[in-house]
Amino acid sequence: MQLDAMDEPLSTGGQELFQPNILIVDDDPSLRSLVRNFLVDQGYAVLEAEDAPSMRRVLAQSEVHIIILDVMMPGEDGLSVARSLVQKGDLGIIMVSALGSETDRIIGLEVGADDYLPKPVSPRELLARIRALQRRRRASAGAQSAAVHYCFEGWRLDPVRRVLRDPGGVIISLSEGEFGLLLALVERPQRVLSRDQLLELSRGDDSDAFDRAVDTQVSRLRRKLATRMHGEIIRTVRSEGYMFLPSVSRG
């Protein structure tokens, strides 16, 4: 098991030993048991369900914190299940789908899933996403649900569709790394974020795509925003990191 690299020191301090209960909902029994064995090895308490009705039975009987939900299931599909679960709230939903296209990802996130993974999902990635979700849920415990959009100086940033629009409504397309960085900054405006924090917050998963130094991406981001916006947007705080200056509203 080569997962040592994943046992990383993510947030410093306050790392309690709490392990959430995970429910796997998938109609494929052998994949279900493989995922269960893997997660049990990682120290999680794992429950299983083969379809929507049995999932609801499990939820009625046991405490569940995170659901790993297959989209393509016979009977009620994963999207409609997710929609009904979001209304109850307080459940982390990771959707797993064989339809891995961008459109499907957007639909999944828009019905209220916290994360969306295309099949075939690797154990490393699943674990990384579960941990990322735990972190986020800890950080925003009791906070409002995810914003639909972030607005600053007439610009709109849609975190689900990963789209940034200028005040004229024109889509300003960024690279994956730059978008992650901007999202991390916009979610925490007027706060100094260190390079390490930015790297951790903007890194969506364990992909190699974001290895380039944060500084390079910040300077690219500044240049791209400056084509349509005047004035200072991202301030460099010497020997500390970066700060997003405009005020941000959710809408």
């Binding site: 098991m1 080569q2 494929d28 052998s30 994949l31 493989l34 995922v35 064995n37 893997f38 393509m72 797993v96 064989a98 339809l99 891995g100 296209s101 961008e102 459109t103 295309p118 099949k119 075939p120 999902v121 690797s122 154990p123 789209v163 200028d166 004229g168 409504g169 024109v170 889509i171 300003i172 397309s173 960024l174 690279s175 994956e176 790394g177 730059e178 190699d208 795509a209 974001f210 290895d211 380039r212 690219r220 791209k224 084509t227 349509r228």
Partner: protein
């Protein structure tokens, strides 16, 4: 019997709405309008008032006696200045005849004629020569004239006859019947042709949108019979095609599910395998997943509804380039202008990702430029590879065609990349071409239309 009449009536109603009937109506309408115009000119335009006036009648005019035919347009005035002498033969001839009739000296009468009557001198001279001996000569003047007679007080009485009334509306129309006829016919034919071409143009536009896959809604069935027939068959074809696409999408979705679930199982089986086995097997899984992904993209490209929104093309291409650069590929942007186009972001990203991916795989490096050329945005992606043969270039856009039969591991793919590029470009109304560079290597050139309002903005 009723049925037959009904059927006949229906066919007639259909024919009445056909292009043939419209054109026939236009031609008949034009003929009717022009004929009505000429007829009304004939009926309403009063002929010129000047009846011919003989020298005898002139003498009565001078004496102030009435004429048999009323000539309203006679003006008379007195002037002290002696009018100029005439040296025209016809005028002198009439003046002499009139002086004779009035019984005054020839020097006291002057006559001024119009061009037409002056040209009739020969006829007048012949009349004088033939009938003059019998005292019966009485030459006539057809058009306008002026008579000047010296009065006993030594002043000159000037009598002018206008042969023509001031122009009436109908006389104007009569003289300008060609431009006025055109003026009447032009709106008529413009109206009819608009009536005819509007549905044809609407039909063509909807057909084009269907072709570009932008619109799912059917072509409206309206306008002339012929267009209605074409629209109906186009709609039938469209619904057949979308049914086919839906079936294909669900089949491909099922296949993807059935392939990806075992791949996911494989991943978890491998979790407990030795390191070197896991690494190698995960690479195999990654390649299979890439093939499935490209195939799904290919299907998704054609079946997903397009979302056309204004976007900044230069930055979009730059973002894709940066993604490749972040993965340590030799990809650089050589030149990028800000150009706003209407496009589907997902489709365009897929398009440029595929092209740059090809350049990196087969050509080791990619150099990208975005610029404006008139009404088009041009994106060029050049590589440094060995290039392609003409035969390969010609077949490059065929689905599942692969330039490299070896299917070697490093460059392996489904052979769908360029098909995706082509369908994505066409969905934006653009074109794509591949050309060999003089320096070796290939260059892919994408031309996308820039919408009018963002051309003005620029």
């Amino acid at each position: 019997m009723m049925g037959r009449i009904g059927g006949w009536f229906e066919r007639f109603a259909l024919w009445m709405n056909s292009i043939q009937a419209y054109i026939l109506a236009l031609v008949l309408g034009a003929i009717v309008v022009l004929t009505a115009l000429s007829l009304s000119i004939m009926f309403y335009v009063t002929p010129e008032v000047g009846a011919p006036i003989s020298v005898y009648e002139m003498s009565r005019m001078v004496r102030g006696q009435p004429l048999a035919q009323d000539t309203p347009s006679i003006r008379s005035r007195i002037q002290a200045v002696e009018p100029r002498r005439s040296d025209d033969d016809a005028e002198k001839l009439i003046a002499a005849a009139l002086a004779h009739r009035l019984g005054v000296s020839g020097g006291d009468v002057r006559v001024y004629l119009n061009d037409g009557d002056r040209g009739r001198h020969d006829l007048m001279a012949r009349e004088m020569a033939l009938y003059g001996g019998e005292g019966a000569a009485d030459p006539i003047v057809l058009g306008s004239f002026t008579i000047a007679v010296r009065t006993s007080s030594g002043q000159w009485r000037m009598i002018t006859r206008e042969a023509r009334n001031p122009d009436t509306l109908w006389q104007h129309i009569g003289r300008n019947s060609v431009p006025i006829g055109l003026l009447l016919i032009l709106p008529l034919s413009l109206w009819v042709s608009a009536l005819l071409t509007r549905p044809i143009r609407a039909f063509a536009a909807s057909a084009e949108r269907l072709g570009a896959g932008i619109e799912e809604s059917p072509v409206p069935v309206e306008g002339p019979t012929e267009i209605r027939m074409a629209a109906r068959s186009l709609n039938e074809m469209q619904s057949r095609i979308s049914r086919y696409i839906r079936e294909r999408t669900s089949v491909v979705g099922a296949i993807a599910h059935d392939l990806r679930t075992p791949l996911a199982r494989l991943h978890f089986h491998l979790a407990s395998a030795p390191e070197h086995v896991r690494k190698a097997a995960e690479e195999e899984i990654r390649q299979m997943e890439q093939l499935i992904g490209t195939t799904l993209d290919f299907v998704d490209n054609e079946s997903r509804p397009r979302v056309m929104e204004p976007l900044e093309l230069g930055l979009l291409v730059e973002g894709v380039v940066d993604d490749f650069a972040d993965m340590q590929h030799d990809v650089a942007i050589k030149h990028a202008e800000p150009i706003t186009i209407d496009g589907d972001m997902i489709l365009l990203k897929r398009l440029f990702t595929n092209l740059i991916d090809n350049a990196v795989k087969y050509g080791d490096a990619a150099s990208v430029s975005v610029r404006r050329e008139g009404e088009a945005a041009i994106v060029e992606i050049a590589d440094k590879g060995a290039g392609m043969t003409d035969e390969h270039i010609a077949r490059a856009f065929e689905p599942f065609f692969r330039g490299e039969p070896s299917r070697n591991r490093k460059t392996g793919g489904a052979g769908l990349g360029l098909s995706i590029v082509q369908s994505a470009t066409e969905a934006h109304g653009g074109t794509v071409e591949l050309k060999r560079l003089a320096t070796g290597g290939m260059c892919a050139r994408i031309a996308l239309p820039i919408p009018a309002q963002s051309r003005e903005r620029a």
